[in-house]
Symmetry: C2
Subunit: 305 residues, 2 copies
């Protein structure tokens, strides 16, 4: 199966510290890289995870709190110093351009590449990226300021051609695509060979929902229903649920309930508060509700499958 995985660069909340960097991760979907969020130090973490700078063309910013975007200017500037020429697309709440534009004008004059800013409205769901095999939708979340999650969804793939069967019935190469996309084949002597005898079914499209930062948000369940993997805000344990509400974050239990309701296959917990010496407490709370829960960890890679 082609690659669909996420590498966590930072999964702490609020301020970067000795245990965690602040939010950032890089999705590798069929060798295309997509960064989500970009806290301070993200470029250092990219090096640590051996993520090729030159392969990153799209950065998605969920909201305009510093722990999700203070590393962006550094990355943009470093790319310039390292001689990048291809454009970098920054997808972020439209308001960000009000400050990113003057920052680029001030600090990043004379770079040989261009930053293409693609603003979106975090309060509504819309498709903000679309290529031949993938699209990305925003997911409105519930946080102190307008915040979007991101749903990365593979497009349905054509079925795989069964080469042995195709050769046996004499399917010419120029007809492969039609067959893979559902066509039957008529042989020279007039027999109809049905599509199902010439192909093997493609896998189910995979998907990944990044839902951070947010308080418990049942309103998004419909949109992410059937998602393969969720990365969810898990800032607090249930003992701190009042604090979670106050700060518009989620508990481990709420993250797990979301995964159950969405019918997800797996759940990655992240955005940890610094108050827990041992995050196993969060993992255990989540696992009691949703077994396939995992703790995010800096420089760890999780497969979406």
């Amino acid at each position: 199966m082609e690659k669909f995985e996420t590498t966590i660069l930072g999964c702490g909340s609020a301020t970067p510290g000795l245990k965690h960097f602040t939010s950032s991760q890089v999705l590798n979907i069929r060798e295309k890289l997509f960064m989500i969020d970009c806290g301070e130090g993200t470029q250092i973490q990219m090096r640590r995870s051996k993520i090729a700078f030159g392969k990153l063309n799209h950065i998605f910013i969920s909201h305009l709190h510093g722990d999700h975007c203070f590393g962006l200017l550094g990355i943009v500037s470093s790319f310039g110093l390292l001689g990048r020429t291809s454009p970098l697309f920054v997808h972020a709440p439209a308001d960000m351009w009000k400050i990113l534009k003057p920052e680029l004008d001030f600090y990043c004059q004379g770079m040989e590449y261009h930053v293409e800013f693609c603003g979106f409205n975090p309060k509504e769901s819309s498709v903000i990226y679309d290529d031949k095999s993938l699209f990305v939708e925003t997911i409105p979340l519930k946080h102190r300021i307008p915040t979007a999650g991101f749903l990365f969804r593979e497009k349905p793939l054509p079925d795989h051609l069964d080469r042995a069967s195709a050769d046996f019935y004499g399917v010419p190469q120029w007809d492969y695509n039609r067959i893979k996309n559902g066509g039957d084949f008529v042989t020279a002597d007039g027999r109809t060979i049905p599509h199902s005898m010439l192909t093997k079914p493609a896998g189910t499209p995979r998907s990944y929902a990044y839902c951070c930062d947010t308080e418990y948000n049942p309103a998004m369940i419909e949109q992410i229903s059937g998602v393969t993997t969720i990365y969810h805000d898990c800032t607090y344990s249930k003992a701190d649920s009042e604090r979670a509400k106050k700060h518009f974050h989620s508990t481990a239990e709420e993250a797990a309930r979301t995964a159950v309701a969405a019918g997800a296959k797996s759940l990655i917990l992240g955005h940890f508060s610094a108050r827990y010496n041992n995050e196993e407490i969060l993992l255990n709370e989540a696992k009691q509700i949703f077994k396939n829960s995992y703790l995010a960890k800096e420089n760890a890679t999780f497969c979406v499958e």
Copy 2:
């Protein structure tokens, strides 16, 4: 002797990587902390070096290249999140306010403390900080953009009172300060006890010159003459001296020649290019000219004495 030391938080150039953070260091002068430069990740390095956030009240920025200031907004923001109430003074080229002000307005609304911006003109030498025991002067450097070094200089101290001698001659406590500052003492029976019999001389005032980023800059020698310790741009080895010139940086030899000309006691080499796997080559070049040369290193502390 009271503390006068510098802790290196970052000593790499251009972009932060696996080997070095970008420029930042914290001087501890008699338990007052002064940060010089603030590259990305500086707040993480402060934690690593166990530098108390609450004790840092002054940050000095040498110039407006990202590797010297992209960590500032993160520190300012984190201080706010951590409940700081006392003002933070940022001393920087006056132009910085054009971008720092909108950044603070955008990202740091509602903080309980105030950022006091103290702009200076990096093209001229002036005293930009002055307290009862210390002053800080800017040093005009030669770099691609206007850049200032910083000279931290202790004020001459009053002599130390020799308590045994003072008690023997019956000096009353209220008279101590006058004696320490040069006064003689007249006893009840009319004898004059000279100042020198009642005191021990204070040490020579110490000083620290931060000279980075700069190409070889003999014009500053007069200003830093007699300095205790110099931290100097040492981006390149002599084999890359053409490159040093082109990028307005110094070689190890040039740093060492500066230390000799200024009559310094010690030299800390920093701002290393990423091109050297082993920076000993830079140290060896410097030591051939100035023996008391040291390589800067993240989280290492150097005494100024």
